[in-house]
């Protein structure tokens, strides 16, 4: 995008307004991605924070070759994986780390979401991480299966399979709750 390229160039020259504009432009999109991936508001906020701080630190050497939105989304995805792994290490097993108690969420946020979305968030946390990543990055991140395949280091058909399995699992979980 033309505007993003100009904003990045301005950031390289230390333009504070430009980096504020980038933050303002993508903060909600990235927070939504992060929260859907890690399943927790506070951790999601930390991820978005870290992504922007790292971007600001490295912007002097940063060259934008594709879309800035895609780049930032990839950074969120990588940090989310780190957080998931860290959580898994702390819990000794990834499976137990995946199940975050509902009360770890901000009650106000749950109230804002409404019952349907709250159930969806709970269901998303229960599907395997690779499937979750495929579903969230495709539907919310706007990434193509090819891009997700590159990110996950697998074939496009594998990503497509993960996506379908993820959706099936979500449907099954939501229907069982209903």
């Amino acid at each position: 995008m033309l505007e993003d390229k100009l904003l990045v160039i301005k950031c390289r020259h230390g333009d504070k307004d430009a980096i504020c504009r980038i933050y303002s432009k993508y903060k909600n999109y990235l927070l939504t991605l992060a929260r859907a991936l890690v399943g927790e508001q506070t951790t999601a906020e930390d991820i978005v924070h870290d992504v922007f701080v790292k971007f600001a630190k490295a912007v002097g050497q940063f060259r934008l070759t594709g879309s800035l939105k895609g780049y930032l989304a990839t950074c969120v995805c990588n940090l989310a994986r780190d957080k998931i792994r860290e959580r898994a290490r702390q819990n000794k097993a990834l499976e137990s780390a995946e199940h975050i108690p509902r009360d770890s969420e901000n009650p106000e946020q749950l109230a804002i979401d409404g019952e349907e979305l709250s159930q969806l968030r709970l269901a998303i946390r229960q599907i395997p991480y690779e499937q979750r990543e495929a579903v969230i990055l495709h539907l919310k991140g706007g990434m193509k299966f090819r891009e997700i395949a590159g990110l996950q280091g697998v074939s496009v058909s594998t990503v497509h399979g993960r996506y379908r399995y993820g959706l099936d699992k979500l449907r099954s979980l939501l229907n069982s709750e209903a």
């Binding site: 950031c11 230390g14 490295a58 969806l120 539907l139 919310k140 449907r171």
Partner: protein, 263 residues
């Protein structure tokens, strides 16, 4: 049972917003990080150019094209005919390029003008700035002045696209630039069409296979020089319209920053 389509719609509805507290915390740290990064980065007052000066002209338009859209395309688009046009443009001694740009449909189009002299010096008019670029010993020197006060100012703006990429890339032919773009298999398609109105004009339509943005380049068949280039991204409303003029060679004084400041 909830059909899969409903699940997809539900996931798309997920939407989180940052709180004021989070904004304050993140922006505080981000601005601090930006400040620190500036201290450790050498200011770019001069832009090093490794390629022959004569290739700057091609770079000007090509880089603009790349930056506004061709940058998303791949290497399959370099046809012989299009290469002819870019090659011819490299050899043109002088030109005037007028650009109209808009980042979205609601924004007013911004005008940028670029002139190239016979000795490869450049003058750019962008908003309230007059920017001069010249070369010595393989390096490009850029100075900018406020149009009204004629005092030195920051050259930052759309034209910095050109300057930044000259600095970083050092290669200025269309093929090399397209080849340098991170391409994925077969993304670009270039179609050549002759306009019905005039057999003198050839039009290149460059389209992305998966996304809706496009670029059209109009060129004269005989001279093989580009006369217009158009870009549009329907998703964001961004557009650019580029008009090339080869009719008037400006005097040397026009490209001289000292002459500008003493007028």
């Amino acid at each position: 049972m909830k059909p899969a389509e409903n699940i997809e719609q539900m996931v798309k509805k997920l939407n989180d917003s940052t709180s004021a507290e989070m904004d304050e915390r993140v922006l505080g740290d981000v601005l601090q990080a930006l400040e620190q990064s500036q201290k450790t980065t050498t200011p770019k007052r001069r832009f090093i150019m490794k390629s022959p000066i004569t290739k700057f002209a091609a770079a000007a338009v090509i880089i603009i094209a790349v930056l506004i859209g061709i940058g998303h395309f791949g290497r399959n688009g370099s046809s012989i005919a299009l290469a002819d046009i870019t090659e011819q443009f490299e050899s043109v001694p002088f030109f005037n390029l007028t650009i109209y740009l808009s980042y979205d449909t609601s924004a007013e189009a911004k005008k940028v003008e670029i002139w190239k002299s016979g000795d490869s010096r450049f003058r750019v008019h962008e908003e309230n700035k007059v920017i001069f670029a010249g070369f010595s010993n393989g390096e490009i020197n850029i100075v900018a002045f406020d149009k009204t006060t004629r005092q030195p100012t920051n050259p930052m703006g759309f034209s910095s696209f050109i300057l930044e990429d000259l600095h970083s890339d050092g290669r200025f032919s269309l093929d090399t630039i397209i080849n340098s773009i991170p391409s994925e298999e077969g993304i670009t398609s270039v179609k050549t069409a002759y306009t019905a109105a005039s057999e003198e004009t050839v039009v290149f339509e460059i389209k992305h296979k998966e996304t809706p943005e496009w670029i059209s380049i109009w060129a004269l068949r005989d001279s093989k020089l580009p006369v217009r280039m158009c870009f549009h991204d329907p998703r964001t409303g961004e557009f650019g319209d580029f008009f090339f003029d080869y009719s008037e060679q400006k005097e040397a004084e026009f490209f001289d920053p000292e002459a500008f400041t003493t007028q």
